[in-house]
Symmetry: C2
Subunit: 191 residues, 2 copies
């Protein structure tokens, strides 16, 4: 059963307020990709805007530049291994969705691929072109145009981290595959 | 006993890689301030650079613009209440260091006030002037010029979250005074 429910746009920035490591999804025509990103933050609540660092050498950067859009998905603890894997491989030479058996839905506004199984939430984002910030700092600013969350951990505009939703709790990358979460430290295994 | 040790600059971005809520310190002449900021991220490892959202209406923004520098301190769980308080009051009308009995040392390069007691780490930062990003997104880019961490939780370039250093573990603001940390959810009390 899928527990995802829409999140009001005025609450969207709260989804990344606490600094989770995220998965950045992208697509341009038939090309698509998903990568891990530890570096993101909100920059505004209303309208909801975020900043994400996307290395300009990545396939993701190429697709985002082409489509002007990307998705941000928040993996839960159960996806720590997958997250590390998605941050350690390039989508130029393989379709990571197929390689890792990742199912994706289509974003309601921009058609970005979005992960729900094992994730706590997602945000669909429209790139705000800022050539200097992109060039100098690999920093992409974007406006959130749609968001949703698993109602078992985020509902009514608020997070609720509890013992019974530990698998959905967000993960925060320390480096080298080591994550912290509410509840302890996870060590990612190689997939 | 103070356990702070210098952190090599090539490891400085790791201090904020996992999205902790931070305290931004500032000073210009005799004026000084400290505020909480949930929105920050690294943007580069070498040279170590970060981005922090500082609302342009704040006293901190005024001091940072004047001095071209700021500090970033990582409060541990024991400082959750203080962190929430520092994010809910303005330094224009009171000296928050005095009001809350906060001791501060002087940064080695830029002389910024830096908190160590109860904190896991600090970074001393030189503002990189980016008028457009500051104006449009309240986003301040900066280069880290010095960093240090409590060796009980960060040493040799790596974090180590353990049961015996729970008080130093970083906190991550969900909103409204609710934080998550490795180990559970903290609810800040009003000071």
């Amino acid at each position: 059963m899928n527990h995802f429910q829409p999140v009001a746009l005025e609450h969207a920035s709260r989804l990344v307020n606490h600094g989770p490591t995220v998965l950045v999804t992208s697509a341009d025509g038939a090309r698509r990709n998903v990568m891990a990103a530890a570096w993101s933050m909100p920059v505004e609540f209303t309208p909801p805007r975020i900043a994400v660092v996307i290395d300009k050498r990545t396939y993701t950067c190429e697709l985002v530049a082409a489509s002007g859009a990307f998705g941000v998905c928040l993996p839960g603890t159960a996806l720590a291994d997958l997250t590390y894997a998605l941050g350690s491989t390039s989508g130029r030479t393989l379709d990571k969705f197929e390689r890792y058996g990742i199912g994706a839905s289509r974003g309601p506004v921009l058609g970005m691929p979005l992960l729900e199984a094992g994730c706590a939430a997602w945000l669909e984002c429209r790139l705000i072109r800022e050539p200097h910030a992109e060039d100098a700092y690999d920093t992409c600013f974007a406006e959130v145009v749609a968001a949703a969350a698993d109602a078992r951990i985020f509902a009514g505009g608020h997070w609720s981290f509890r013992e019974d939703n530990a698998d959905l709790q967000t993960i925060h990358h320390l480096g080298g595959g080591n994550f912290v979460r509410a509840g302890g430290t996870l060590r990612a295994r190689q997939l």
